[in-house]
Symmetry: C2
């Protein structure tokens, strides 16, 4: 079970946009260049973030991407959902209804207890992601890598100069 | 992000072994036949469960698989780990250390705040799986599909007769 590496790119990019702030728009090329990311593939993630209403893009020579909301109002769940989609990791294929033990359909009106149990765990995972806005991750970066925000902001500013 | 369908097969098979009980050993062929599962691929999952100490197999004409522990002592996390391995779904590739914003290695002694935040969510998922033993799932099946255990037991008994 593996999450797309696009999730790592997307969360980092949201943080970078938070650090640049609403005054400055950042191009997809600049965002990709900051981590040497493959531009075409990264563009897809950016488009997914835009479709999910996490970033907005403005056209034109001074245009680019900005966060669509303040970092307090963008959660890790928003970003993960935008990149990974809403489909749960555990997908019940109803094998209980297959084979020699299969019974009449009216015996399967309630969801499979296994799917229910697995779903409960995914809900705990989602709740934890939903409880962590980008602003909290930012605060944790400030504690663990105190120069990151300023270094990042300065590089993006230099690109727009 | 998708979990292997082997997880569904493995949890159902653990439940089936729980219903058959410790007195009866069940062959891999019988376990696979009960849900029309592809035998070779399913055997790999059974071997993984055996390596993880969740099932034991005895050789010989009356041999087969049994649960290695009572269902109260096998959690969903045990089964998921056996099939999916211990690697987390989110895998930090340290992109923060790449590109023009990269700083000297001594700035990265602490884990990335994003990896930390994603890890916290995976821990919530794992904790929920660890809190749910197969015995609890069994109790939920008894409530939602009351004939399943008896039907299953009878079919496996008929195969050994």
């Amino acid at each position: 079970m593996k999450m797309s590496e696009g999730v790592e790119w997307a969360v980092h990019s949201c943080l970078n946009l938070a650090w640049v702030g609403p005054a400055g728009a950042v191009t997809a090329t600049q965002l990709a260049a900051f981590y040497d990311l493959p531009t075409a593939y990264f563009n897809k993630q950016l488009q997914a973030l835009a479709r999910a209403g996490i970033v907005t893009s403005t056209p034109g020579p001074r245009g680019g991407f900005r966060l669509a909301r303040v970092p307090e109002q963008i959660t890790l769940l928003d970003v993960v959902r935008a990149i990974e989609g809403p489909t749960p990791a555990f997908r019940c294929t109803e094998i209980r209804q297959r084979g020699p033990g299969a019974q009449a359909p009216e015996n399967y009106l309630l969801p499979c207890a296994i799917a229910h149990a697995m779903g409960r765990a995914e809900q705990a995972w989602q709740q934890s992601l939903a409880d962590q806005p980008i602003a909290d991750v930012d605060a944790d970066v400030a504690r663990t890598a105190p120069t990151a925000a300023e270094t990042t902001r300065r590089w993006f500013d230099s690109q727009r100069a």
